[in-house]
């Protein structure tokens, strides 16, 4: 069960550039901050600035409790003005952190093989999931974990160190500079036959185009797949109805569901692609 979220004042302990346009924030929070479930996210905001005005959603990449504090890691890509300002935060600066929010990944007891599929910074929630599997839950050691990580170039395969040694690892780059030359779904397609459909679960996070091609790839299989979706957010708590995606509600009916509250993790089969969710 997800614990109750709160608004906490965090302090940036470290803000490190990890690749061009990518940075890793380490934030110190009060111990009272609830333990996030992998796939959950936080909304962060610089309380001293008008810009970004609205907080920005970022997935939990790491979380520990240490010396009377909770320590939160966020892996971020500079996508626009807000993330660009965050990338320039000095250590010592203050951030408000709202969370943990949303519905994370769910691993049914019958799952024996987990495939993590990530595009770019989508690796963040999956790295946290792996951390939780490996460190927190001894029982889950019975499960095989294989990660398929894709990015534009070798340099952009951020967060790799959180996977190496903790699971089987396959990498793909668009330019072939590391691992498979091509995108991550193509690479997965080559291996897919090897997995037992009934006991395998795919957990994926990445750009919409990746999720879309994953959906096409899995359509004829019976492999379960949960994806973490992204949509612009204002409140992050389900109040504004700003962050919806079209979801099949059964009996041919469709409806909009809130990524922040009903997601961000959805079963891939729930997504209603036509009309496309974006663009």
């Amino acid at each position: 069960m997800a614990e109750k979220p709160s608004i906490a004042i965090g302090q940036v302990m470290e803000n490190r550039s990890v690749a061009p346009g990518h940075f890793l924030l380490t934030i110190r929070l009060p111990l009272s901050f609830a333990t996030p479930i992998p796939g959950q996210f936080v909304m962060i905001r610089d309380p001293d600035r008008d810009e970004p005005l609205l907080p920005r959603p970022i997935s939990v990449y790491g979380f520990q409790r240490e010396d009377g504090h909770a320590i939160l890691n966020l892996l971020c890509r500079v996508a626009g003005r807000g993330t660009s300002l965050f990338s320039r935060l000095n250590s010592g600066s203050t951030l408000t952190v709202l969370g943990p929010l949303g519905r994370g990944f769910t691993i049914d007891p019958d799952v024996r093989q987990i495939l993590l599929v990530a595009g770019g910074v989508g690796a963040a929630p999956l790295a946290f999931l792996l951390q939780e599997c490996v460190f927190s839950k001894p029982h889950s050691a019975k499960r095989q974990v294989t990660a398929y990580l894709g990015a534009g170039t070798a340099e952009l395969l951020t967060g790799l160190n959180r996977f190496e040694g903790f699971c089987n690892l396959r990498t793909a780059t668009d330019d072939g500079s590391c691992g498979y030359h091509g995108n991550v779904t193509e690479m997965l397609a080559l291996d897919l036959g090897e997995y037992d459909a009934k006991s395998t679960l795919i957990l994926a996070c990445g750009p919409m185009a990746m999720i879309r091609s994953l959906d096409l790839l899995l359509r004829d299989t019976r492999i379960r797949c949960q994806v973490s979706l992204e949509e612009r957010m204002a409140c992050g708590v389900g109040a504004c109805l700003g962050c919806v995606v079209a979801i099949k509600e059964g009996e041919g009916r469709n409806g909009y569901r809130r990524v922040c509250h009903d997601g961000p993790v959805f079963d891939i089969g729930e997504i209603h692609w036509n009309p496309p969710v974006e663009g």
């Binding site: 109750k4 979220p5 709160s6 608004i7 905001r45 309380p47 008008d50 810009e51 970004p52 005005l53 609205l54 907080p55 807000g82 408000t96 709202l98 949509e231 612009r232 957010m233 204002a234 409140c235 992050g236 708590v237 389900g238 109040a239 504004c240 109805l241 700003g242 962050c243 919806v244 995606v245 079209a246 469709n254 409806g255 909009y256 509250h261 009309p275 969710v277 974006e278 663009g279």
Partner: protein, 314 residues
């Protein structure tokens, strides 16, 4: 009654809003606080003056396709398109939660026809636990080709009359700022029986993604809210206060106690907090505290002495 912070100086912040006595003049704005439950982890709902719920229609509505929101400088655009669970599901599934709290519940309603407004009002009036109705007249009047009911005095008055005729609850009419003369509309709804007016709803705006050369919102245009609109909202509140006798509720860009005080000093009887909830989920709590601190610092004993105390030359 709980011994909450507000009761330290009993009634210092209390306001009487057309018969509805509120603990304090701070309400949440429709569409920005869900049905209350979404913010319960961050706010003590018992401390609010009132909760105005997301706009309700007769039937559930799916709303507009995404993307629905976009941040702008000191503001945001939304084109949610009035997605809501419908008035019956509200009463069955959302109202029981709100009834647990000692807070006034105001139902915000809208319709595409006058009859729809009437029927939603009727249903809400028979449900226990709704303390007032706020009528959103900014939505498109399908009969008049999609122009908002709130854009024309006659249409605004007709909606008001219809709702008025259907309920004994206080009727608050919520005005759109996208008009040449808001006082004309305010006077029309006052004559048609409104107990109060609230303003402003969002200003229509737009934003373009220059890389994709497409509008940021699927709906092309959306409603602008947040700190950016505050000066326009305050000006309209000032104009309306001087042209009607019924209470005026100030809305638009209020995000701090100082912002709220600008409206109260200008003469608004209460304020609603919208976009600020998204920016800071405990905004309402800090605003209530800040108003009280200001009153103590300025030795103002009750709301009546604060409201409308603005001095202008001549």
């Amino acid at each position: 009654m709980e011994a909450d912070k507000n009761t330290v100086v009993p009634g210092r912040l209390a306001v009487d809003l057309c018969g509805l006595v509120l603990k304090n003049p701070v309400m949440t704005a429709s569409g920005t606080f869900g049905y209350g439950e979404e913010y319960a982890p961050f706010c003590d709902l018992n401390r609010l003056g009132a909760i105005v719920v997301k706009g309700l229609s007769l039937e559930p509505r799916a709303g507009n396709p995404p993307p629905r929101i976009m941040e702008t400088r000191c503001g945001m655009l939304n084109a949610v398109g009035l997605q809501n669970v419908g008035v019956r599901a509200f009463i069955a599934k959302k109202l029981p939660f709100l009834r647990q709290f000692n807070v006034a519940v105001i139902a915000n309603i809208f319709g595409e026809t006058i009859d729809e407004y009437r029927r939603v009002t009727e249903i809400l009036t028979h449900a226990a636990g709704v303390n007032a109705i706020e009528v959103n007249i900014s939505c498109p009047n399908v009969k008049k080709g999609g122009v908002a009911f709130g854009a024309h005095p006659d249409a605004a008055a007709s909606v008001t009359e219809a709702v008025r005729g259907e309920t004994d609850l206080p009727v608050i009419v919520k005005l759109t700022p996208n008009v040449t003369d808001i006082t004309e509309i305010a006077q029309a709804v006052e004559s048609a029986g409104a107990d109060a007016v609230s303003l402003i709803n969002t200003l229509t705006g737009m934003s373009v993604d220059i890389e994709r050369r497409r509008p940021h919102l699927a709906n092309v245009t959306g409603g602008l809210s947040g700190p950016a609109v505050k000066p326009v909202a305050l000006r309209m509140v000032w104009q309306v206060i001087r042209s009607v006798k019924i209470p005026v509720i100030g809305i638009g860009g209020i995000s701090t106690a100082a912002d709220a005080l600008e409206f109260l000093i200008t003469g608004a009887s209460a304020v609603q907090i919208g976009t600020a909830n998204f920016i800071h989920p405990a905004a309402t709590m800090e605003i209530i505290d800040g108003i009280e601190d200001y009153m103590i610092r300025h030795r103002i004993g009750c709301m009546q002495d604060l409201l409308g105390s603005l001095q202008t030359d001549g």
